[in-house]
């Protein structure tokens, strides 16, 4: 079953609504498990969700301040409308109360029915321009089942190790299988889900993504040559040259923030909600640089990242980052005289410092390609100087480090990221004690129980 991003964005009515909404949601967020209003754990297809109010703060010079928005981010199994129907069915009071503070909630001046509320939510769902799933296909149910399987298995080994180590590896596995068949209900029927052949093929190719892209680019040229001859090829080359030249021009004109200060007014609130458990949530909002050109490059980069996430990065590893459960990017167009913004949400393992570090160490190219199209809310410009969206970089080649570093400018980038962050009012994780690596390992343990390949490798996973 497929995992889907829900991003419901609704304008908050006014200052009064803003205050009331915050007052209503904050205590729920502080007591996510035991509050009397909503227990997210009863929603059996919900992995993570967050409610956040984002104010356009501080307003940029000469630009209207956008209305504060309430964003509901959810990462779910299956169909969006089914999930929305379920949450409204189970928690009508909560959902009505929350959205009664938002523009467009009332139906002809009256409180809408549950169905009408559901339609309102669906109409305001912006999904995601790019969506990354740590382990695609792993439903909440499967993740839970595989974790039970592992715990049962580990407890069995703990209790019987002295006996087991005297056996040969295949006999150890046999004893484990027998024990699981006896103790775990439905063990024989719950077979591991097979990875589709196409995804398997893409996983094999994933270390060679660069070559695949090069090959595809060449194929395009050959195709153009066959259809339009040399003129066609020259035309495309010319387009690329104009695009590159203009991009460089824009990048040279952009100014980075020379200070390295963490001066966000939200810093204290962020620290209050971070590091409460093994996982964290990151919400970031930032202006897209003005003009159509940057919006175009950003849209293209996100399209590409979405493609990589869907096709290649399907094994808990987004170009070297192994701590992301779910991440998404959403372009949020502004109304008249407002700026277009980029929203980013991530549900990740470990600390902020580690997360940002992994980004810089392993994925600075993608990161720079996205955020070099944006600028800080607080002051014009801001993102560390970049050339050609930062895509020309190879850490093994000295000359590429002569280019301005983009996200590799560690401290400037961290300050930029920190200042773009907003604290959420509610954040829920269905499995706060499982890391991406744990889920992957549990999956492999499950697969190994139904396969004879690499027995010694399988035993190491226990």
């Amino acid at each position: 079953m497929e995992q889907k991003p829900i991003t419901i964005v609704a304008d908050v009515l006014d200052e009064k609504s803003l205050t009331e909404l915050t007052r209503y949601l904050t205590p729920i967020g502080k007591d996510i498990k035991n509050n009397k209003i909503i227990r997210f754990a009863t929603l059996k297809t919900l992995h993570y969700c967050c409610f956040i109010v984002i104010e356009d703060n501080p307003p940029p010079p000469g630009i209207s301040r956008a209305a504060p928005v309430l964003v509901f981010e959810a990462n779910i199994d299956g169909k969006v409308n089914e999930f929305l129907a379920e949450i409204v069915r189970q928690y009508p009071e909560f959902m009505h109360k929350v959205y009664s503070h938002c523009e467009g909630y009332l139906k002809e001046g009256k409180k809408p029915s549950n169905e009408e509320l559901q339609a309102f939510l669906l109409a305001n769902d912006r999904g995601a321009n790019a969506f990354y799933i740590g382990h695609p296909g792993q439903t909440l149910e499967i993740i839970g089942y595989q974790n039970t399987l592992r715990s049962t298995l580990e407890a069995y080994i703990d209790a019987n190790r002295p006996k087991l180590v005297k056996l040969a590896p295949d006999e150890i596995k046999k004893a484990i299988l027998e024990h699981l068949a006896k103790t775990v209900p439905g063990f024989a029927q719950n077979k591991p889900v097979k990875t589709p052949a196409l995804i398997k093929f893409a996983q094999m190719l994933s270390p060679y993504v660069n070559w695949v892209i090069l090959f595809l680019a060449l194929a395009v040229f050959v195709l153009v040559f066959m259809i339009a001859g040399e003129i066609g090829v020259f035309f495309i080359l010319g387009l690329i040259a104009v695009f590159t030249g203009y991009l460089l021009f824009r990048e040279i004109m952009d100014k980075q923030d020379e200070r390295l200060q963490w001066d966000s007014i939200y810093l204290k609130d962020l620290q209050d909600v971070e590091n409460r458990q093994a996982q964290n949530h990151l919400s970031s909002i930032i202006y897209v640089k003005p003009g159509k050109f940057r919006l175009l490059t950003l849209t293209a980069v996100l399209f590409f990242i979405n493609l990589v996430a869907k096709v290649f990065a399907t094994e808990g590893n987004l170009s070297g980052i192994v701590t992301i459960h779910f991440a998404r990017w959403i372009i949020l167009p502004g109304k008249a005289n407002e700026r277009t913004r980029l929203l980013f949400f991530s549900n990740y393992d470990g600390s902020w410092e580690n997360y940002l570090g992994e980004f810089i160490d392993h994925a600075s190219i993608g990161l720079t390609a996205v955020w070099s199209n944006t600028e800080s809310n607080a002051r014009p410009g801001g993102f560390p100087d970049t050339r050609l969206l930062g895509v020309v970089f190879d850490e093994n080649k000295k000359w590429t480090s002569l280019f301005p570093a983009g996200a590799r400018d560690e401290q400037r980038f961290k300050a930029f990221a920190r200042n773009s962050q907003r604290p959420e009012l509610i954040w829920y994780s269905a499995y706060p004690d499982l890391a991406v690596k744990n889920i992957g390992n549990n999956m492999k343990i499950h697969e190994g129980l139904f396969s004879d390949a690499d027995l010694s490798g399988w035993l190491k996973r226990l």
């Binding site: 150890i172 600390s351 570090g357 392993h362 480090s401």
Partner: protein
């Protein structure tokens, strides 16, 4: 790109502790001080800088001296003396005792700052004065001199506290209180003209860490960028207050030696394994300092000069943790060439050079220079003696970015239950996850053939008694304070 090279003159403008743990001076006292009269304190500091302070010495002139003196200040201390701390690193400004830092460090429950002997908001520290001497006689003479001087200098010891004298465990061949060789792993730093330490990595490729990871104002581990030098924004880096300074982290860690060895004895008996084997697996090293290699059940014979097994190694031949377990203390505090989140390729029973390189590059962005010393009497046989008194480690480390270096190690490596793909265990030796999370049951996994061994349900062995984030300014900066 930074082009500031580290020269002998720069070295002389940096306090000596950066370059040396002063092994030649076995006698040492730490004074935790509070400023009562800022004006007097400034002239006291001026005199220290003119007459006493020990700078870095490129030509080993240190050897001719009979002692050393260095000082470091907390954010509160700098403010008292009129230094604006607004441009210092966030973690330093907030201080180790603050709620936000405590959350990251896991300093909660019995380790919470409210229970500390010093360093909490109630008992703030302003200055750390470190005094080292070559022998006892010299030491007691300098102690008297300095104590008189700071008393006249408007500075007092924190209420109720004596000075902290350290124990010379060097006579015990550099052991720490649990009985293991200590201080064997320190990074080799670029531009230090007389490296006293060896680098991690291996003999073919010794690792050199950029100067800027440990001294402010120089290229750091990120393409030679310069870590933010605190001081007036308008000045050039070389003129700022923070130039040639670094952040100093101090933690007084009490070690419960008897509980540790009692646990080891009982557990080894229960599992029918050797005590020293179990203890070595927990630390990741044998008592003599050699890293535990796959299939070893006894320590290898090594000489003090044999650094290959003590520091110049990585984990390319131990990628499944069958020698030095993934969760062991030394693998957590410096994972070296071990896939930090990156895909690892194995060829011929070893990690490939490329896997090791990428991983080392990441690990080396989170290194610290360790400069601490032990305190309290050493116990030769912890299982037999009737033990009294407190003992432990004054952990001191130096780094250019507390959050990316010291705090990162503590949060992401030491106290993380998920380190290296593990599920629910923290550092068995120094982890404090259970204090911060009541109800948590500690465990430790030893990868073995054919099935992993597990040690469950054991106590914590280390308790935090006090701590603070300090700044170890350059000599010129100290003169700026002195006025």
């Amino acid at each position: 790109m930074a082009n500031t090279a580290f020269t002998d003159d720069q070295m002389r403008d940096t306090q000596g502790l950066v370059f040396s743990g002063y092994g030649a001076f076995p006698y040492c006292s730490y004074y935790l001080l509070q400023i009562k009269d800022p004006n007097k304190a400034r002239s006291w500091i001026k005199r220290l800088v003119d007459e006493k302070i020990t700078p870095g010495e490129p030509d080993k002139a240190l050897r001719k001296q009979t002692g050393a003196l260095n000082i470091a200040l907390t954010a509160a201390g700098l403010s008292e003396l009129g230094v604006n701390t607004g441009s210092f690193e966030q973690a330093f400004q907030e201080g180790m005792q603050s709620r936000s830092r405590a959350t990251i460090l896991g300093d909660q429950g019995k380790n919470a700052s409210t229970a500390w002997l010093w360093g909490s908001d109630d008992k703030p520290v302003h200055i750390l004065l470190m005094l080292f001497s070559v022998d006892e006689k010299t030491h007691s003479k300098s102690q008297k001199e300095e104590e008189t001087a700071f008393k006249q200098g408007g500075v007092v010891l924190i209420k109720d506290l004596e000075r902290f004298d350290t124990t010379n465990l060097n006579e015990e061949k550099g052991r720490e209180h649990f009985g293991f060789a200590d201080g064997v792993s320190n990074p080799l730093v670029e531009g230090f003209s007389s490296p006293t330490e060896t680098g991690s990595g291996n003999e073919q490729a010794p690792r050199v860490i950029p100067t800027g990871e440990f001294i402010l104002g120089y290229p750091n581990g990120y393409d030679g960028k310069v870590t933010k030098v605190p001081g007036e924004e308008t000045l050039k880096d070389e003129e700022k207050f923070g130039f040639n300074g670094t952040y100093l982290v101090l933690r007084q860690l009490e070690q419960d030696v008897q509980t540790f060895w009692t646990f080891i004895r009982n557990e080894a008996k229960k599992q029918k394994i050797d005590q020293d084997y179990l203890a070595a697996k927990i630390v990741g090293r044998w008592k003599n300092g050699a890293v535990v290699k796959p299939d070893e059940t006894k320590p290898p014979q090594i000489t003090d000069a044999d650094m290959a097994l003590r520091n110049q190694f990585d984990f390319r031949d131990d990628y499944d943790g069958k020698g030095c377990p993934f969760g062991s203390h030394i693998r957590r505090t410096n994972p070296r060439g071990q896939g930090l989140g990156i895909e690892q390729k194995v060829e011929n029973g070893q990690l490939t050079q490329a896997s090791v390189e990428t991983s080392l590059k990441v690990a080396n962005r989170h290194r610290i220079l360790r400069r601490g010393r032990s305190y309290g009497a050493f116990i030769e046989n912890p299982l037999k003696e009737n033990i009294s008194g407190e003992r432990g480690l004054f952990f001191i480390c130096l780094n250019a970015n507390i959050e990316r270096q010291f705090e990162f190690i503590q949060h992401t490596w030491v106290n993380s239950l998920k380190f290296n793909g593990l599920y629910d265990e923290d550092d068995p030796l120094i982890g404090t996850y259970a204090s911060a999370n009541p109800g948590f049951k500690r465990s430790f996994t030893l990868p073995e053939d054919p099935l992993r061994r597990k040690v469950c349900d054991f106590q914590e062995f280390v308790k935090l008694r006090g701590g603070g984030y300090f700044f170890l300014p350059g000599i010129k900066a100290l003169r700026m304070i002195g006025g």
